[in-house]
């Protein structure tokens, strides 16, 4: 190729026109088309949707799990084991943050509160996150262990929530399930590699799984709210998703030549506002600026 045609190709790329031929740029970018938190906020504001108190309380749980996890994962950006992984963990954190915003926006509709009200003004005991997502990042294996458990749980849950009788919960789940499916894949790939990589990585992976496994049970706890929600078809019985969770995580562990850790379960309590010792620090950091300027716009 001679000079002029090379620069002509450049012009094409620069303008980013999506041509209809084989020369179309690989950098053509679009915002895509999916349910965004802003869309839900608009519907909440106009009164088009309003959750029941039970649905709002449930959305708060889902939103808080995603928010605290995003907060944890965000710390990895600029600290990951390789630059490619900075980008990968960033994507996962952004997905979770998106789910958090959607669920919190919807939940807030019941109490006339915005996502930011809920994220920045609530106190620790008012959060509904599970202990698992509050656990510190630890080393990469600990983070992967946490990702492994939460992503397989979220996938099964969202998959069922797509059929929720609450249309907004179903819509958020339909968007989220595809994203957490990828999170599942990401964590499973790493469980395989760390589990079967070097002696050190295997030791660390086993350690990470042992650290995180006590917090699995809480994810599947039944309480009066979930019982009511199951009855009204808003969610699914935790026992049903537990079965699939056990089967699929068991498969990955077997492939990685790892075992389900034999560790006692922790009692949890996050859904009642009884949190791990870590949440206070997470919230202190997350809320510090917003609390310094009450009512400010950003």
């Amino acid at each position: 190729m001679t000079g002029p045609s090379t620069s002509a190709a450049h012009e094409d790329v620069t303008t980013g026109v999506a041509g209809g031929d084989g020369n179309a740029s690989a950098t053509r970018i679009t915002p895509g088309n999916a349910l965004r938190p802003e869309d839900i906020a608009l519907e909440v504001r106009t009164g088009a949707i309003r959750p029941t108190d039970d649905a709002a309380e449930y959305a708060l749980r889902l939103g808080d799990d995603a928010l605290i996890l995003a907060q944890r994962l965000g710390h990895w950006i600029s600290r990951a084991p390789e630059l490619e992984e900075d980008v990968a963990l960033g994507n996962i954190a952004l997905d979770q943050l998106g789910h958090a915003r959607s669920f919190l926006t919807y939940a807030g509709g019941a109490w006339d509160k915005s996502e930011d009200n809920l994220a920045y003004v609530r106190r620790e005991h008012e959060f509904r996150s599970a202990h698992l997502v509050e656990q510190p990042n630890g080393d990469f294996a600990v983070t992967i262990a946490r990702q492994f458990l939460i992503s397989f749980y979220q996938y099964e849950l969202y998959r069922h929530l797509m059929g929720s009788t609450d249309a907004t919960v179903a819509a958020i789940a339909a968007k989220a399930v595809k994203e957490v499916d990828y999170h599942r894949d990401h964590s499973a790939q790493w469980v395989l590699r760390l589990g079967q990589g070097t002696d050190e990585s295997r030791r660390r992976m086993i350690h990470g799984l042992r650290l995180m496994w006590p917090y699995v049970n809480e994810l599947f706890d039944e309480d009066p709210l979930t019982l009511r929600l199951v009855a009204s078809g808003i969610t699914v019985a935790p026992a049903i998703i537990r079965e699939e969770f056990d089967r699929l995580t068991g498969q990955v562990l077997a492939d990685a030549d790892l075992e389900v850790p034999d560790v006692p379960a922790a009692p949890g309590g996050g859904r009642r506002g009884e949190h791990s010792e870590h949440l206070g620090y997470i919230l202190a950091e997350m809320q510090v600026l917003a609390r310094e300027h009450p009512g400010a716009n950003w």
Binding site: A18, G22, T30, P31, E84, A88, Q189, R193
Partner: protein, 148 residues
Amino acid sequence: MSPHGNPEVPAGAAADVIRGARQVPAGSRTPEPADPAPTGPAPVQAPGSPAAAPEPAAWDLWEVFVRSNRGLSHVHAGSLHAPDADMALRNARDLYTRRNEGVSIWVVPAEAITTSDPGTKGAFFESPQGKDYRHATYYTKSEGVKHL
């Protein structure tokens, strides 16, 4: 080494110099040693021998091709590092399709790409020059005739 693989492989890929992606003489009559073209990683290192000993766990280089829409070709998007093909594909997804750039991705080990030799381009790409009878515009007498 014979040319193989994807004919769309660009000349500007990171594969071009490193990882021993050697040039194919491509019919050049110029003997290799006298050919000034294969600069390789010249002042920094000799071809094929890394400049500094890379850490033992250094991940391989992969070239990434993205299909932006159904019906279009995969186009070279860039490069990345990954320990294996599965991770290369995932890294490519994370790195090169953050803004809906693609519906399909290829990853190719950079070292699997064979490139034509720019030093021989006179010989390698000369033949089609001047053979304008291969193009419709050569046939002027039919100009203006409909549906031709």
